[in-house]
């Protein structure tokens, strides 16, 4: 297994991860690590298990065997307080999942107030800063249904960032978007990466992976086929399977 070339103990360490849906084994003995400040893009054909892998990292998906250690907490251990671990792991979904009954600003303020017990004023300041960061200051009082997909996804990013997470997980964040709004979401993510956020991004946006990732992981049929710096994976892949996949999409 290739380990991260960056320094520091890993913020996520996955060993021997197994996951099946019924008789269909979707993850087979996955080992992976993510170092602080690292941006890892996970690519691969649909059905390769990459989204399931990502969802195991904050236990939205329960796994059958192996260990996922996040920030020093073993998610497989029964004593682990899952809600405490999840505070430090932001997640952005393919389908945005913004809260439709709350205004944009309240979407961002909810978890800091209820989970972190921040006061209303402090939560509001934090939310306003984050909405400015994702370029939605003027939409603070709008309802999610009034926003485009790209805007909703940026609200979702601000909502996740409001918990001040140590790592952000992105599950195909642009796959449900109209082509013209993909760019605005990717540029917010790129800015995050430049600021040093640790990110794991499952994506089909090869341009983004090539430009922003420190490391690209190629998954197929429930295993990590190969991984490495984007230049190497995209231009000189070692495995035939990787070459075949990239040949189809590039």
């Amino acid at each position: 297994m290739i380990t991260s070339t960056l320094n520091g103990s890993p913020i996520i360490e996955v060993t021997g991860l197994d996951k099946s849906f019924g008789s269909n084994q979707v993850l087979k003995q996955i080992d992976a690590r993510v170092a602080p400040n690292e941006v890892v893009c996970v690519i691969g054909p649909s059905g390769s298990g990459k989204s399931t892998f990502l969802r195991c990292l904050n236990l939205l998906e329960k796994f059958d065997a192996g260990h996922v250690v996040v920030n020093g907490h073993d998610l497989a251990a029964s004593r682990t307080n899952l809600n405490l671990v999840r505070r430090d792991v932001g997640m952005v979904f393919q389908s945005f999942n913004v809260f439709p009954h709350l205004k944009v600003i309240d979407n961002v303020m909810l978890a800091p107030m209820k989970v972190l017990k921040l006061g209303r004023r402090e939560a509001r300041e934090r939310a306003e800063t984050l909405l400015a960061k994702v370029g939605l200051t003027d939409k603070a009082d709008a309802h999610p249904r009034q926003l485009s997909g790209g805007q909703q996804q940026r609200v979702a990013i601000a909502r996740a960032l409001a918990m001040e997470p140590k790592v952000m997980l992105f599950d195909e964040p642009t796959s449900a978007l109209d082509p013209e709004t993909i760019g605005e979401v990717l540029s917010v993510m790129k800015k995050l990466a430049e600021e040093g956020m640790t990110m794991v991004v499952v994506t089909h946006e090869m341009g983004f992976a090539r430009e922003v990732a420190d490391r690209v992981v190629f998954m197929a049929d429930g295993v990590i086929v190969e991984e490495g710096p984007p230049k190497q994976v995209f231009e000189d892949p070692v495995h035939e399977r990787t070459r075949a996949f990239l040949g189809k999409i590039l």
Binding site: N58, L60, N83, L84, R86, R87, V89, G90, M91, F93, S95, N97, V98, F99, P100, H101, L110, A111, K114, V115, A156, R159, A160, M163
Partner: protein, 215 residues
């Protein structure tokens, strides 16, 4: 017999209306609370709670309201002498547990109509079961639950007429008694019908107002 004109029978009919309103209001509120508790229990992560809720909901929804009332009033005291209730209390308990079973299904359906992604988004933010339900799931589920809940409340107005079987004098029973006295069933039951309309129509209006507000 009829010397005072029909007007003399209005006060007892209005008193009956008042009692019907009280029955529907109290059993509607208690039924909603029961429905919320059992509807959430029906789909909670704790299996024994799910089973208890399933038994309550499925058993009571399969019973005629008449049987529920007769059982509480006549049969329950034979099993537990302490559970001897007067007519009014029996009527409220019977209608409440009946309403609770129906409302539980309305709430369960509404909660299950909320996309799974909403729950996942709340969980990913570190919200536990209580926070997730209180601030993310229930506010959305309530909006979905209102139209069927309003429909059920109107049918509860009608079901409340059945408590006459245990001798509780609400609007239907008052009308029945009066028509026996004045021998004027046409006038009497017409007035009763108008009074039922006056009770139930504002509930429909409330439902329509709510749906307009959502649109």
């Amino acid at each position: 017999m009829n010397d005072g004109g029909f007007a003399q029978f209005l006060p007892p009919l209005l008193r009956g209306t008042e009692l019907t309103l009280m029955l529907v209001a109290v059993s509607g509120v208690v039924g909603t609370i029961l429905g919320l508790v059992f509807g959430m229990a029906r789909i909670c992560p704790v299996p024994p709670l799910r089973w208890v809720a399933a038994v309550y909901i499925n058993f009571l929804r399969g019973q005629p309201v008449l049987i529920i009332l007769l059982f509480i009033y006549f049969a329950l005291p034979l099993l537990f002498p302490a559970a001897t209730f007067n007519r009014g209390f029996t009527a409220i308990v019977g209608l409440s547990i009946y309403a609770g079973a129906y409302m539980a299904e309305i709430f369960r359906g509404s909660i299950e109509a909320i996309p799974k992604g909403q729950e996942e988004a709340a969980e990913a933010l570190g919200m536990g079961y209580f926070l997730k339900f209180r601030y993310v799931i229930l506010p959305q589920a309530m909006k979905i639950a209102v139209p069927p809940a309003i429909g059920f409340l109107i049918s509860l107005v009608k079901a409340s007429a059945l408590v006459s079987v245990i001798g509780f004098v609400e609007l239907t029973q008052a009308g029945h008694i009066i028509s026996n006295i004045n021998q004027e069933p046409l006038q009497t039951f017409l007035v009763v019908a108008v009074l039922y309309f006056i009770v139930s129509y504002p509930i429909s209006l409330l439902g329509r107002w709510y749906e307009r507000r959502l649109a």
